[in-house]
C-alpha cells in the first residue's frame, strides 16, 4: 500500500507549496493597492471617491451584504442590492457583497468575517441566517446587524429585523388583474407554497376575488425556485387553459415572463421591477424599496443606536411601491379601483387575510 503513503506526501507537498505561495505574497502585497474593492483597500477607495466630489460627510459608512442568491436575480437579493446602490452616494456608503451563500454555514462565516473587519452594518439578507446572526451579534456588540426577512431581533441591542408585507402589493395587483382579464382566467406561477411567495400569491388571489369572485384564479407551484424551463411550461399551460393575465413570484419566473410576452398575455411582477424583461406585456410590478428601512437603520447607527427595531415595509410606509409600466395602457377605472385598494390597505380598512404559512 505504498502508493497511499506517496499520496500522503503529495498532499503534504501541495499544502507546503500553498503555504509558500501565500507567505511569498504576504510579504510584499501590503503596500500595493490593487484596485479591488476589498475591505483592506478601504482607505484607497475613499481617496478615490474623494476627488469626484462625492458627499464628504466624513468617514464612509461601511456596509456588507450577505445574500442567498445572485445580486442580479431580479428578485429577492437584487431588491436589497439595488436599495444599497440607491443610497451609495447620498449616504456615502462603502459596500461589500457576498452573494450566492445559501448554505447557512458559509453565510455565517462571511457574516463573521465582515463583523471582524469592523463593518458598521452587516446585512444578513435571508431568513435562514437567523441563528448565525443571533450568535455572531453577541460576539461583536459594537457591530450592527440587520436580518431579514424576519420579525425577531432576539432582544439583542445590535440587531435590526426587517420583513415585507408582500401580500399588500399582491392584493393591489390582483385588483388590477381582475380589471384587465377578459377571459376570466388568471394564471399564477409559484415556486413552493411557503413564506414570501405564498404571502404574495394569497394576497393576489384575495385581490382578484374581492373584485370579481367569478374569475378563475389558477395557481401552479412548480416545486422549484430556480427551474426556469418548468416555469415557462407552467405559463404555457395557463395559456392553453385560456389565461390572459398572469403573475408569478421568485427568480425562476423570468421563463414565464418570456411566455407571457410571446403570447401577448398581461404580466404582473413582484420583488423588483420586471418591466425590462417584457416591456410590451408587463403591466406593473410590486417593487421593494428597502432603502426606506436602510435609511432609518443607518441614521440610528450614526446616532449610536445599533439595533432593537423591527421594520415591515408596506404600501403605507413607501417600502412597497406599485411600479406601473408607462408603456402599458390600463383603463382609468381599473387604475382607480387599484388606487382605492392602495388607500384601503394603507388605512387598514382592507385586509388581505393572507398568511405566510
Amino acid at each position: 500500500m505504498g502508493k497511499k503513503r506517496v499520496r500522503w506526501m503529495r498532499l503534504a507537498v501541495v499544502l507546503a507549496v500553498l503555504v509558500i505561495v501565500a507567505a511569498a505574497c504576504g510579504d510584499d502585497d501590503e503596500p500595493e493597492a490593487d484596485g479591488a474593492t476589498g475591505p483592506t483597500e478601504a482607505t484607497g477607495a475613499t481617496e478615490a471617491t474623494g476627488p469626484t466630489g462625492a458627499t464628504e460627510t466624513g468617514e464612509p459608512f461601511r456596509v456588507a451584504l450577505v445574500a442567498p442568491s445572485a445580486t442580479n436575480d431580479l428578485a429577492f437579493t437584487q431588491s436589497m442590492f439595488d436599495a444599497l446602490g440607491t443610497l451609495e452616494e447620498s449616504e456615502n456608503l462603502e459596500i461589500a457583497v457576498s452573494d450566492n451563500l445559501f448554505v447557512v454555514e458559509d453565510a455565517g462565516s462571511a457574516i463573521r468575517n465582515y463583523a471582524s473587519e469592523g463593518y458598521d452594518l452587516v446585512i444578513a439578507h435571508g431568513s435562514q441566517y437567523g441563528a448565525s446572526v443571533e450568535e455572531i451579534a453577541q460576539d461583536f456588540p459594537e457591530v450592527s446587524f440587520a436580518w431579514g426577512t424576519a420579525g425577531d431581533t432576539f432582544g439583542q441591542p445590535n440587531v435590526f429585523a426587517y420583513q415585507a408585507a408582500s401580500d399588500q402589493g399582491g392584493y393591489v395587483e390582483g385588483v388590477l388583474a381582475a380589471g384587465l382579464t377578459e377571459s376570466k382566467v388568471i394564471g399564477v406561477v409559484g415556486p413552493i407554497e411557503v413564506g414570501d411567495a405564498k404571502l404574495y400569491v394569497d394576497g393576489f388571489q384575495a385581490g382578484v376575488e374581492a373584485t370579481d369572485p367569478s374569475i378563475d384564479v389558477r395557481i401552479n407551484y412548480t416545486g422549484s425556485f430556480s427551474d426556469v424551463g418548468l416555469a415557462a411550461e407552467a405559463a404555457r399551460s395557463f395559456v392553453a387553459a385560456g389565461a390572459d393575465v398572469m403573475t408569478g413570484t421568485a427568480q425562476m419566473v423570468v421563463g414565464a415572463v418570456g411566455v407571457a410576452e410571446g403570447n401577448d398575455v398581461a404580466w404582473f411582477g413582484t420583488q423588483s421591477d420586471q418591466t425590462s424583461l417584457a416591456p410590451d406585456v408587463v403591466v406593473a410590478s410590486q417593487v421593494y424599496h428597502w432603502e426606506v428601512v436602510l435609511q432609518d437603520i443607518i441614521a440610528l447607527i450614526r446616532e449610536g443606536t445599533l439595533g432593537g427595531e423591527t421594520y415591515t415595509i408596506d404600501l403605507a410606509n413607501g417600502g412597497e411601491v406599485i411600479a406601473y409600466n408607462d408603456a402599458y395602457e390600463v383603463p382609468e377605472d381599473v387604475v382607480a379601483s387599484a388606487e382605492e385598494a392602495v388607500a384601503g390597505l394603507m388605512d387598514g380598512s382592507i385586509e388581505t387575510g393572507a398568511t405566510a404559512g
Partner: protein, 405 residues
C-alpha cells in the same frame, strides 16, 4: 513523513521525484488558471489566494470552519468508498443526505423531550436509516431488477428533493412558526438533539468525531471482515464472486444501503450540527447539502477510495470551499469563480495523476515486481492466506474499472 532509507535504484528516485512533483504541478497549474481569471476580474491574485489560505487554514477559527465543512464530505466520501469498492456507482449522495436529514428532523420533532444522551444518538441513527433506505432502493433495483444504479440514483435525487419541499412547506412545519419563514425550513429543533460542542467558544461539534469514527469503522469493515472481503471481491468481478459462491445480489444491495446510510448520517449531522439547528433548503438539494453529495465523491476518489485517506482529502477540499468564501469577502469576486476553479483543479489532478502512474509503470517495465513500490504498511493487509483482491497496480482510484458490469 520522512522517506524510508535506501532507495533501491535510480528508477525509484526518478519515480519518486515525478510523484512528488505531480500533484503540486497540477495544483500550481490550476492556481495559475485561477490567477488569470482573478486578474481578468480586476482582482489581485496574491491577495485572493492569501485570503483563501487564511480563510481555510490561517487561524483556529478557520481550521474549525474547515473541519465542519469537511464533515459531510467525509461521511459521503466514506459511503462512496463502500459503494465504489463494490463496483456500484452511487451518484445519489445528495438525495440520501436529504432523506437522512428529513428522517432525523422528523425524529427530533416527534420526540423533542427525550434527554440528550438518548436523542442525539437516536437522530443520528434515524438519519442513517433514512439514507440507508434511499440507498437500498437503487441497490435492490440493481441487484434484482437490473436497473442501472446511475439512472436510479440520479432519479431518486429528484424524488428526494420534492419529498423535502413537500415536508418542509407543510407536514414538518409548525403552524405557529410557518408565518415567519420565507423559505422551506423547520422550526428550531429540540436543543436536546444538538450535537455537543467539543471546544468551547467554537462551533466544532461532535459531528467531527462521528465522521472520523465512521471512516475508521468503514475501513475495518472493508479490510478486516469477511463481508468487506466479499464486497471487494464482488467489486472486482461479479462473475468470479458468484462462481465462488458469494451472495452477489445481497452484497450489492447492502453496499448501496450502507453507502446511503453514510450519506444519510451526513444529512443528520448537517441538521443538528448547523448553526441554525433547523433543516433548511432553497427548494433544491444543494440548498440543504451545499453539494456535499457530489463533492464527497471527489473527496473519496482523491482518497483512493480508502476511508482513512478520505479523511485527509475531505479536509483539504473543505478548506478549498471555506477559503473560497473568504476570498470573495476579501477581493469581492463572485463565488462562482471558486466553483469553476474547483473544476479545473479536479481535471488537472486526475489528468496528471494518471499520467504519473503511467510514467511510473513505464519506468517499472523492466522489473517484474508489482506496479507500485510497496514500503511496509503499518496496517497490514488482510491475512496472507486470503489472496488480496485489490492489488496495488489496479488501484482503486479508477472509477473506470469500477464501471464495468
Amino acid at each position: 513523513m520522512a522517506r524510508r532509507e535506501s532507495l533501491p535504484n535510480w528508477r525509484d528516485r526518478r519515480r519518486l521525484l515525478v510523484s512528488w512533483l505531480a500533484m503540486p504541478t497540477a495544483a500550481v497549474a490550476a492556481l495559475l488558471v485561477g490567477a488569470v481569471m482573478l486578474l481578468s476580474l480586476g482582482a489581485n491574485p496574491f491577495s485572493g489566494y492569501r485570503a483563501l489560505l487564511d480563510g481555510a487554514f490561517g487561524s483556529g477559527d478557520a481550521i474549525v470552519n474547515t473541519a465542519i465543512k469537511s464533515i459531510p464530505l467525509l461521511l459521503v466520501g466514506v459511503g462512496i468508498c463502500i459503494a465504489f469498492r463494490a463496483n456500484v456507482i452511487n451518484i445519489g449522495g445528495e438525495g440520501q443526505m436529504v432523506v437522512g436529514g428529513l428522517a432525523s428532523a422528523a425524529t427530533a420533532l416527534a420526540l423533542p423531550s427525550l434527554p440528550a444522551p438518548v436523542l442525539v444518538p437516536l437522530v443520528l441513527v434515524a438519519g442513517a436509516v433514512g439514507g440507508g433506505i434511499w440507498g437500498a432502493i437503487p441497490g435492490s433495483l440493481k441487484a434484482y431488477f437490473n436497473v442501472n444504479e446511475i439512472l436510479s440514483t440520479i432519479m431518486l435525487n429528484i424524488v428526494a428533493v420534492q419529498v423535502m419541499n413537500y415536508l418542509l412547506s407543510g407536514p414538518l412545519v409548525d403552524d405557529e412558526f410557518s408565518g415567519f419563514s420565507a423559505i422551506p425550513q423547520t422550526q428550531r429543533l429540540s436543543a436536546n438533539a444538538d450535537l455537543p460542542v467539543l471546544i468551547g467558544g467554537t462551533n466544532l461539534h461532535a459531528g467531527v468525531i462521528v465522521a472520523a469514527l465512521a471512516a475508521v469503522v468503514a475501513y475495518a469493515l472493508l479490510w478486516r471482515t469477511g463481508f468487506g472481503f466479499r464486497l471487494r471481491a464482488v467489486g472486482l468481478s461479479r462473475e468470479a464472486a458468484a462462481y465462488a459462491g458469494m451472495p452477489v445480489k445481497r452484497t450489492i444491495t447492502l453496499a448501496l444501503t450502507l453507502s446511503g446510510a453514510m450519506s444519510g448520517l451526513a444529512g443528520a449531522v448537517l441538521v443538528f450540527g448547523s448553526a441554525s439547528h433547523r433543516m433548511v433548503t432553497d427548494g433544491s438539494a444543494t440548498g440543504f447539502t451545499g453539494s456535499a453529495g457530489f463533492n464527497g465523491i471527489v473527496a473519496a476518489l482523491f482518497g483512493g477510495l480508502n476511508p482513512l485517506w478520505t479523511i485527509l482529502s475531505s479536509f483539504v477540499f473543505g478548506g478549498l470551499l471555506v477559503g473560497g468564501n473568504a476570498m470573495q469577502v476579501a477581493v469581492q469576486v463572485p463565488t462562482a469563480l471558486i466553483v469553476a476553479l474547483n473544476g479545473v483543479l479536479v481535471v488537472f489532478v486526475v489528468a496528471i495523476e494518471r499520467a504519473r502512474r503511467r510514467y511510473s509503470l513505464r519506468l517499472e517495465a523492466a522489473p517484474p515486481s508489482s506496479a507500485e513500490p510497496r514500503p511496509p504498511e503499518p496496517s497490514a493487509e488482510v491475512t496472507g492466506a486470503v489472496a488480496e483482491p485489490s492489488d496495488g497496480g489496479r488501484a482503486a482510484v479508477q472509477v473506470s474499472e469500477r464501471l464495468e458490469e
